[in-house]
Symmetry: C2
C-alpha cells in the first residue's frame, strides 16, 4: 500500500495545458522567484512529503482515532510531529500573503499540493487546510493589526485555525444561530455559545487555535464574524473549549468537536452584520479544498485499485485462455477507466479554477469577469468532485472484491473518509442550489454565457480533436443556458430546488468533456508523452461518460412536476 | 430510531398484485393450511419479531462487533438469546421441507420475512439465511440419511450452517481451490484445507455448525461438495476451527472467519466432481437473499431518512416563506422519492422471483420455463438490488446532512453494512457476466424472449396505465434482445465482459418500469388504498429513473472498443 503523486499529469497541466510559465510573470502578487522549474521542484518536494511523511500515518490514524479525556483532545500518533515538519518545511504558508510572511505561491500550484496531501491523508490535511482558509479570510477582511498578529503565526504553522458556524439547529440555514456577542471595547466582544461539528476545533498540534466564529451582536439579528483565539495574547486561556468529540463513519484522525465559547474575547472581522459574506471568503476556499479532497480520494483509490488489478490473478484471459490478472477483464477495466477519466478531468478543472482565482487577484481588465468564473465554478468543484469521489472510491473498492471490505486493505477507509466531503462545507444539494440559483438564474445567465463563450472560442480553434465532440460540448452548454432561461422563480418557486442537482451534474460532465478535449489538444500540440493516454481516456470519456449529460438533461424536463406532486402525507 | 415493516405494501403485493390466494391452492408442496389470512398473520408476527427482538440489537452489534480469543468466536450481546427466540418461534424452518419438519411455506412469503429481518439487522440475519440456504442444498442433493440427520436440526435452529468456498487465491474463480478430500469409507472423506471469508464459520449461537465445503478429491481436478460438521454425531470435535476473524468496513456483528479443516470428516453431497453445480443450489438461494439484503437496507434507510426529513426544520418553504421541514425542499424530496421508487419496484421483483421459485417446484406444464425465469432473474436481483441498495443508503444519509456521518444516527451503519452485498456471493460484475453470458447469450436469448413475451402479453392487457409507458418498456426489452443477438463471443471474446454491467443495469431499470406499471394497474383494478401513492411513484419513476435505461443502452454501443483499446501499460 502506497501513494505516489501523479507528477507527470500535474506538470503537464501546469506547463502544457495552462501555460503557467506565460501566465505567472504577469502576476505581481506572486513570488517573484517563481518559474516553471521552481514550480516543478516544489511539486517534487510536496510529492515526497505527502508519500514519505503524511501517508504512513494514515491507516493508524483511522484505527486509533482522536481521543478525548478530561477536556483534552489528542490526535493520533505522529500527527503532532508531522504537523511540525509540515510547518518547518514551509507548506503552511505556501499561498500566503508575502506581506505577512507567506510564500506567495499561486493557487494553481497550491491546488496540486493540496491534492497530494489529501491523497496521503484526509484527516491530517484538514488541519492545515482550515488554517490556510482562515488566514485567507483574515487577510481579506480583518484589520491590519489583526493581520500582523495572526497571519505570520498561521502561515508558519505555530498556530492553527478553525471555522465555527454550525449550531445544533442551524446547519444549512445559518440564520437561526444563537451564539451571542457583547461588545466590551472598541473592537473587542465577549462571545458566548455552542457550536457543533467544528473540525479541528481543539487538538494538540499547535500551541494556539484561532477560531473564526459566527455570532449575533446583542440586539442585532444579523450575523457577524469574530476572531476568537483559544489563548489570548497574554497567554491566558480564553474559555474556548471542546465539550466532546463526535464518533464518525470515517475521518477518525480529524477532531470533530462540540465547542463552547464562554464569554470568550473576540475581535470583529469586517463590518458588523456582514459576517456571512466575510466568512464566505473562507467558505469558498474550503469548498474548493473539499472538492480537491474528493478528487484526491479518487486518485488514491485508483492507485490502490490499479495495483491490485495488475497483481491479482483470477480467471482466464478470453483470447489466450490463460490465467490472467484481473486488469485483463473488461469489467475491471471499465471501473478503472471510469475512475481515471473522471479524476484527470477533475484535476484539469481544479488547476483551471486555481488559475481563475489567481487571475482574479491580478488587476486587469477582465478581473471581475474572471472572479465571476471562479465563483461560478466553486460549487461545481465542491460537489462534482466529491460526488464523483465517492463513486470512484466505491468502484475502486469493487475491484478488490472481498478484500476491499477488509480494513487492512486501506481502500474501505478511503470510502468512509471521502463520504463526508459530499456533506460538509454545505451539502452537495446546497451547492447545486447555489450554482443554479445564485450563480446562474439570479445572474440571468450572464456569467455562464461569458464562460461558455470563452470555451466555444477555444473549441473553435482546436486542431487535433474530433469536431463532433466539440459540437456536442457546445450544444450541451447551449441546452443548459436555455433551460436556465426558462426558470421563473416567481411562477414556480420549487423548480430551482428540485432540479438543481441534475442541472449541476449535466454541467459537470459537460465541462469534463471540454477539459478532455483541451488535454488532448494540448498534448498533441506539445507532442507530450501523455498524448496517447489522453487520447484513449478522452475517447472512453466521450463514449461512456458523456451520455450522462443526456441523462441529466432528460431528467430536467420533468423534475419539478414529478418531485413536488406527491402530498407530504404519502411519504 | 426504529424499523417498522412496510406491511401494507407487502400485503398488497401478495394479495392484489400476485394473487397468492389463487396461486397457492395449486401448490401441493405448500403447507396445506396456508391461505392469505394466515400469510398476513405470519407477516404481522414477523414484523413484530424483526422490530421488537432483532432490531434493538443492531446498533450495539456494530459497536461491539464479534470478538475472537483463544480460538473462540463470540457474537455481540443478545445474539445468542435472539437466535434461540428466532428458532423457538419457528422462523428457521419457515420455507423448509415438511418431510423433514420444515414448515413448508412458499418462497414468495419467505422473501418478505427475509426482507424484514435484514432491515432489522444485516449481521444477525446472515446466520439464519446461510442455515436456510445450506438446508435447501442438502434437501436438493444429499442422501436420505444425511437429510434425516441434518435437516430437522437445521430447520429447528438447534444447529446452523456455513458455506465454505473461497480460498486466498480462489475467489471469483473457484477452479484453483486447494482444499483436499481423501476418501476413508463409502461416503466418508477427510477434508483438509483453509477457507477465507467464511461468514458464520464459527460462532456461539448454536451447538453445532454444519459446513458445506468445496474441495477436490485426491487425483481429481474437479470440485466436489462435502458436508462437514463442526461436531460429529458422537459429539467429538471434528477439527473445524476458526484461526482468525476479519475486521471489516461494517457487518461487525457477523463473524467472517478464516476456517481450517484438519482431516475433518465429511460426507459427499451429490456426485463426485459435481460439487459446484450442487453448491449453486445454495449459492443461488444466497444470491437472492443477498439481493433482499440490499432491498431491505434501502427500506430501512428510507424510514430513517423520511422520519428525519419530516422532523428537521431548516430553511424556508418557497411559497409560504415560512420555516419548514426539510421534506418541503425539492432536493430532499428527489432523494426520498428515488429511494422509495427503487425500493417498492424491487420488492415487487423480489416477490415475483419468489413466486417463480415456488412455481418451478410445482410440477406443471410450464415448470421448466418458470425455473428458467428464476435463473434468469437471480443475478439481476442480487446485483441490481444491492447496487441500488448502496445508492439508496448513501442518498438517505445525505438527507441527514452532517448528522448522517455520526455513528449514533444509525444511517451510516446501513451504508457500511450494505456495501458488502455488492461484493459477496459473487461480485456484481460476476453477476452481470453470468446474466449476459450464461443466461442470455449462450441461451440464444430463448428464455429472455419467453420472459419478455409474458410481460408484453400482460402489458397489452393493462387498462389503467398510460399506453406510452407500456410501449417504452416493450421497446427497451426489444433493444436488449437485439443487442444480445449481435454478440459473437468467438469473434469478440472481450465484449461480454466489458458490457455486462451496463446490460444488466438497462434490464434492471426496465423491469422496474414494468413492475411499476403492474402495481398501478393492480392497485386501480382492486381499488386498493395504495393506488394514489403507486400512481405518484410510478410517474416519478418513469420521469426520473427510466431515462437510465437509455443511458445504459447508449453505453452498450461503444463499450467494448472504448474499454479494451488502452494498452495495459498505460493503466
Amino acid at each position: 500500500m502506497n501513494y505516489s503523486a501523479p507528477l507527470s499529469d500535474m506538470k503537464f497541466l501546469l506547463k502544457n495545458v495552462f501555460h503557467a510559465d506565460n501566465v505567472w510573470p504577469n502576476f505581481p502578487y506572486v513570488n517573484e522567484n517563481l518559474d516553471i522549474d521552481i514550480a516543478f521542484t516544489i511539486l517534487d518536494e510536496a510529492s515526497k512529503f505527502s508519500s514519505d511523511v503524511i501517508f504512513p500515518l494514515n491507516r493508524n490514524a483511522d484505527e486509533q482515532g482522536v481521543t478525548f479525556s478530561f477536556g483534552n483532545v489528542k490526535t493520533p500518533d505522529g500527527f503532532t510531529e508531522c504537523y511540525q515538519s509540515f510547518s518547518e518545511a514551509g507548506w503552511g504558508g505556501l499561498c500566503g500573503n508575502p506581506d505577512f510572511e507567506g510564500t506567495g505561491m499561486p493557487k494553481m500550484l497550491g491546488v496540486l499540493v493540496d491534492e497530494m496531501n489529501y491523497s496521503a491523508s484526509n484527516a491530517f490535511t484538514l488541519y492545515s487546510s482550515l488554517t490556510a482558509g482562515a488566514a485567507l479570510c483574515i487577510d481579506s477582511h480583518a484589520s491590519e493589526n489583526l493581520k500582523k498578529t495572526y497571519l505570520p503565526k498561521l502561515y508558519s504553522g505555530e498556530w492553527s485555525a478553525a471555522m465555527a458556524m454550525t449550531e445544533a439547529h442551524a446547519g444549512s440555514d445559518l440564520n437561526n444561530i444563537r451564539t451571542k456577542a457583547v461588545q466590551v471595547s472598541d473592537d473587542q466582544y465577549k462571545i458566548t455559545g455552542t457550536k457543533i461539528f467544528i473540525t479541528a476545533g481543539d487538538h494538540d498540534l499547535t500551541s494556539n487555535i484561532i477560531h473564526l466564529v459566527l455570532a449575533k451582536v446583542q440586539n442585532d439579528s444579523r450575523i457577524s464574524l469574530f476572531l476568537v483565539p483559544k489563548f489570548l495574547e497574554d497567554n491566558n486561556f480564553n474559555h474556548v473549549s471542546a465539550s466532546s468529540i463526535e464518533h464518525k463513519m470515517g475521518l477518525n484522525g480529524s477532531a470533530t468537536c462540540v465547542m463552547n465559547y464562554d464569554e470568550s474575547l473576540g475581535h470583529l472581522i469586517g463590518e458588523q452584520g456582514k459576517g456571512l459574506s466575510c466568512m464566505f471568503t473562507m467558505m469558498n476556499y474550503e469548498r474548493l479544498a473539499i472538492g480537491i479532497q474528493g478528487l484526491a480520494n479518487s486518485e488514491a483509490a485508483y492507485q490502490l485499485a490499479v495495483n491490485y488489478a495488475k497483481d491479482r490473478i483470477q480467471g482466464t484471459e478470453p483470447k489466450l485462455k490463460l490465467p490472467c490478472n484481473i486488469i485483463d477483464h473488461g469489467d475491471v477495466r471499465r471501473m478503472l477507466l471510469t475512475i481515471r477519466a473522471l479524476t484527470e478531468a477533475g484535476r484539469a478543472l481544479s488547476v483551471y479554477t486555481g488559475m481563475q482565482l489567481d487571475l482574479a487577484k491580478y488587476g486587469g481588465d477582465s478581473q471581475q469577469k474572471i472572479a465571476n468564473f471562479s465563483q461560478l465554478l466553486t460549487p461545481v468543484t465542491k460537489s462534482f468532485f466529491t460526488d464523483r469521489g465517492l463513486e470512484c472510491a466505491v468502484m475502486a473498492q469493487q475491484v478488490f472484491g472481498g478484500h476491499g471490505y477488509i480494513r487492512e486493505s486501506g481502500i474501505e477507509q478511503i470510502v468512509r473518509d471521502t463520504r463526508i466531503a459530499q456533506i460538509y462545507e454545505g451539502t452537495n444539494g446546497i451547492q447545486a442550489i447555489d450554482f443554479l440559483s445564485r450563480k446562474v438564474v439570479l445572474d440571468k445567465q450572464v456569467v455562464l454565457q461569458q464562460f461558455v463563450e470563452d470555451i466555444n472560442f477555444n473549441l473553435a480553434n482546436f486542431k487535433f480533436v474530433n469536431q463532433k465532440k466539440c459540437d456536442l460540448v457546445k450544444a450541451n452548454f447551449q441546452k443548459l443556458i436555455n433551460f436556465a432561461s426558462t426558470i421563473n422563480h416567481k411562477v414556480n418557486p420549487s423548480l430551482l430546488n428540485s432540479c438543481a442537482v441534475n442541472y449541476l451534474d449535466a454541467f459537470g460532465y459537460n465541462i469534463y468533456g471540454y477539459f478532455w478535449l483541451l488535454m488532448v489538444e494540448k498534448s498533441h500540440q506539445s507532442k507530450h508523452h501523455l498524448f496517447e493516454s489522453k487520447q484513449y481516456l478522452c475517447d472512453f470519456f466521450f463514449d461512456q461518460l458523456m451520455p450522462n449529460v443526456g441523462l441529466h438533461l432528460n431528467r430536467l424536463k420533468s423534475c419539478d412536476d414529478s418531485i413536488m406532486a406527491m402530498p407530504k402525507e404519502i411519504f
